[in-house]
Subunit: 204 residues, 2 copies
């Protein structure tokens, strides 16, 4: 059965980017350390780092890729990564639905893994389910689109990759959820030097 899985990395103090993230600035100032677990150690956008994740982190990544049949991301994440240059995570057959107010002209008539959805998260979810072939739909971020899905009660599982750092500033994952309790059940913990991976089932 297709589940909806929100999957994102945050600092211990709840930031998914450092300050001043954006197109050309990636994860923001001092934000690279969030993804040390993906890279296998400290890295920068200047490159030159080896891509060799720790065994535990590699398994977390591999399981995410194999279990997710379609992705949903927000327009800002799309712009910040510039569509990962057309090669998003998940391999050549990956399909992504980008929640946006308008289709970026650069991508309007190009064959790509991306479908631009201008009529909201429910539509994006319907379209993603339709191509997921029974696998999970992954909500990859950023914060805004995950908040929309959580507030709408549409998330079945929350996977938080908690990087061992306090950033002090940046973009918070949890904000604007509304003043009500969402109960979670922790189902799994995976530990590596660069992250504590916490898996939660989300109460409805």
């Amino acid at each position: 059965m297709t589940r909806v899985v929100a999957d994102i990395t945050m600092s211990v103090d709840g930031y998914i980017t450092g300050p001043n993230d954006g197109p050309g600035a990636g994860l923001g100032e001092r934000g690279e350390c969030l993804h040390n677990w993906v890279m296998g150690g400290p890295w920068t956008y200047a490159g030159g780092h080896p891509f060799a994740p720790q065994e535990a982190d590699r398994e977390v990544l591999a399981q995410a890729v194999s279990s997710i049949g379609a992705g949903i991301i927000g327009r800002r994440m799309f712009d910040v990564t510039d569509g990962w240059g057309g090669n998003p995570p998940g391999g050549p057959d990956a399909r992504y639905f980008v929640v946006t107010h308008s289709v970026p002209s650069k991508w309007a008539n190009v064959e790509s893994p991306f479908t631009f959805v201008t009529d909201g998260i429910h539509s994006a979810l319907d379209q993603a389910r339709a191509v997921a072939e029974g696998k999970d739909v992954g909500i990859g971020g950023g914060a805004n689109v995950i908040q929309q899905f959580l507030a709408a009660g549409l998330v079945d599982e929350l996977r938080l990759h908690v990087a061992p750092v306090l950033l002090g500033a940046g973009k918070r994952l949890f904000d604007h959820l509304g003043d009500r309790t969402i109960e979670l059940e922790r189902t799994r913990v995976v530990e590596s030097p660069y992250a504590t991976h916490l898996y939660f089932t989300v109460g409805k």
Copy 2:
């Protein structure tokens, strides 16, 4: 050697209380669930719940009590708990230093486990160390006093008891830390149904 340990419970979205906490309102609206791990299940301030923590949680509590030789708390936490009626956690010999701007008149000339410190966190720490007899000094909260200790680089270990819930509102643990990175090293994870206990060494 005496270490400085900040030890507090927060929700997955980083709140240490629900909204509108304060004297007479404890952990705030919907905030009781934060301490389900201490109580051994859902409880309310109305009472009537059994006090029977899960085995894993009991060990976490017992280890905290046995390792901490003196506590430091903020004035707000003191007021919210009303000094735990004079019987704070840690038993009859516990010593607490309350960081405050002024000594509460009700407690000014009363024998109690509390010493009121009006000249800041460094003074509170010096006084706590002096009576800790080589055990740890525990910073019990609330958010403001933990933020002050973290920002000053005085915390050796951060123990976060993460309750499996999104509260959506309340008092955030991490705020006002300043725009800089504090590196952490996760040293221990303890899992129970009511909390994920995360232990971090704090980089200097």
